[in-house]
């Protein structure tokens, strides 16, 4: 589904990581952890083509992302859901419209997604806040809205960058449960987080692979996680 082949990324002449070989199989659940600045967000951006590797290749659904045109890349992104660290909303639109944005930009027939919009908003617990604008929402509400927007088109892959970074423990558990539920529906999940407690909690619900990024290498984490 997503594959890194000898991929590496350098910024300002300094290698963040190199020779990464990684494959995210369909329906798998992954955590990516490591210290701040290790390159977790960068690795996620390589997955959906916001950045391109400075060495090697990344492929999405078998397509080398660096060879795609801008339009092809945009269409490829419509098949994945991204929960960004700072959510990234259009602040002038109500949250309901923000969640429905992928329907508007998609070329696919989105009748089902349109019909499910209200149900999805209720599923993430924002039924009564649907008409509020993003700045009026709490951190947790914004994260749930970002998750709803990521899944509205029923993508096969969901990438989440620190999805519980700005919320309390109770809310992070709620978000985790939503992600686990999506994984049970067959979605491939990759979550970048430095929250080890969240990873431990998740492992009680789902069989998750934990990847640790440190010193420019990506390794499978030990059994303590």
């Amino acid at each position: 589904m997503i594959e890194f082949k000898d991929a590496g990324y350098s910024y300002g002449g300094q290698a963040l990581f190199s020779r990464v070989n990684l494959e995210l199989a369909p329906g798998s659940f992954h955590f990516l952890t490591g210290p701040s600045g290790a390159g977790k967000s960068t690795l996620l951006k390589l997955c959906y083509g916001e950045l391109h590797p400075t060495e090697g290749h990344t492929t999405l659904f078998g397509q080398d992302l660096s060879t795609l045109s801008r339009d092809q890349l945009a269409h490829a992104r419509q098949s994945i859901g991204v929960v960004h660290q700072d959510c990234q909303f259009l602040d002038h639109l109500p949250i309901e419209e923000n969640i429905g944005l992928p329907i508007a930009v998609s070329r696919k027939d989105a009748v089902e997604a349109r019909a499910n919009l209200q149900e999805l908003i209720a599923w993430v617990g924002l039924g009564e806040r649907a008409h509020a604008r993003p700045p009026q929402l709490s951190g947790g509400e914004r994260q749930r809205a970002a998750l709803a927007r990521a899944v509205i088109m029923s993508p096969d892959v969901i990438l989440a960058d620190e999805p519980t970074g700005n919320v309390d423990w109770e809310m992070s558990q709620k978000l985790l449960r939503l992600l686990v539920e999506l994984n049970r529906m067959g979605k491939t999940i990759l979550i970048a987080t430095h929250d080890l407690a969240l990873i431990r909690a998740a492992k009680t619900h789902v069989q998750a692979r934990v990847l640790r990024i440190a010193d420019g290498q990506i390794l499978s984490a030990g059994a303590d996680l």
């Binding site: 269409h75 490829a76 419509q78 002038h92 508007a104």
Partner: protein, 300 residues
């Protein structure tokens, strides 16, 4: 996406893409104002151009068909040379009619310079004969030759000397008006491009979000293009309306050969400025489309 698809998308009502770009911002006011001001100026340039065109045509037509023969001879020969000239003119192919201007007509011609009370009869003023050509016209060189033999005091003035510079001046004035319209269109495009660039720069977050969720560049560009095109059309409509009102309020004269009072539109020409909002829309469409595509390419 092709240009045709973008044009089609312009007219397709897409409520969502209309809303992705925030409506507020100084670029909205700037685009509307620029478009209105430029349309206002274009109405005047158009009016100038059309008036110059009419004037050039009329001067050309009027003077081309009217020729004067001036009899400058000793007083005792004026009558005989006038008769000889009339005789020559009546037998010249291409002359429709000829007649000697009477005293009152000659006095009217001199009045602007000497006043209405000039005693024409007491002055050695040449006799004037007005000649009207047929559509085919006559051979001026041949006529001059015959006159020099039969009426040596007769001088044929076909007005070429001063008709040509006037007509050329009027045609250049028309060209100047058209050039002004092109310059105004170019300035409008430049201003709208600047405003579009400013809007794109101010809405980087919008572009980032749309790209994150898989929006193609053409979808993003369309949102900006549509917004700016509609603003330009609205502004141009307002500017055109005000310009036409101003032209309507200009003092008019029944004498359409007087240039300054002939500025304006006549009959069907009043429809011409109505094309300006559409043209402003076309200029805005292409200017914003180019600016958006360039900016989005840079942001990749």
């Amino acid at each position: 996406m092709s240009i045709f698809a973008d044009i089609f998308a312009m007219f397709a009502r897409d409520a969502q893409s209309d809303r992705v770009v925030p409506k507020t911002g100084y670029t909205a006011t700037l685009t509307m104002f620029t478009s209105a001001a430029m349309a206002f100026l274009t109405v005047f340039a158009l009016s100038l151009s059309l008036a110059a065109d009419r004037l050039a045509d009329r001067w050309g037509e009027d003077l081309a068909k009217s020729v004067t023969v001036r009899i400058s001879a000793p007083v005792d020969q004026i009558a005989s040379q006038t008769a000889a000239t009339i005789n020559v003119l009546e037998t010249t192919t291409g002359v429709a009619s000829s007649r000697v201007l009477n005293e009152a007509e000659q006095q009217a011609l001199l009045a602007p310079w000497f006043g209405p009370d000039v005693p024409i009869a007491d002055l050695p003023i040449p006799r004037l004969i007005e000649v009207i050509e047929t559509d085919v016209g006559f051979d001026a060189a041949g006529l001059r030759l015959r006159l020099s033999v039969e009426a040596p005091g007769a001088v044929l003035d076909d007005h070429t000397r001063w008709r040509e510079p006037l007509t050329i001046a009027a045609r250049r004035l028309r060209l100047l008006g058209m050039t002004s319209i092109l310059l105004i269109a170019a300035a409008t495009a430049a201003m709208i491009t600047l405003a579009a660039n400013a809007a794109l720069a101010a809405n980087l977050q919008v572009i980032r979000v749309l790209r994150l969720i898989g929006a193609t560049d053409s979808y993003i560009a369309r949102a900006f293009v549509r917004r700016f095109t509609i603003r330009a059309i609205t502004g141009a409509f307002l500017g055109t309306f005000l310009g036409m009102m101003a032209i309507l309020l200009l003092p008019q004269s029944t004498d359409d050969k007087i240039f300054l009072t002939g500025l304006g539109f006549q009959a069907g020409q009043w429809m011409t400025p109505l094309a300006l909002p559409f043209l402003a829309g076309v200029v805005a469409f292409f200017a914003t489309r180019a600016a958006s595509n360039r900016a989005l390419r840079k942001l990749s």
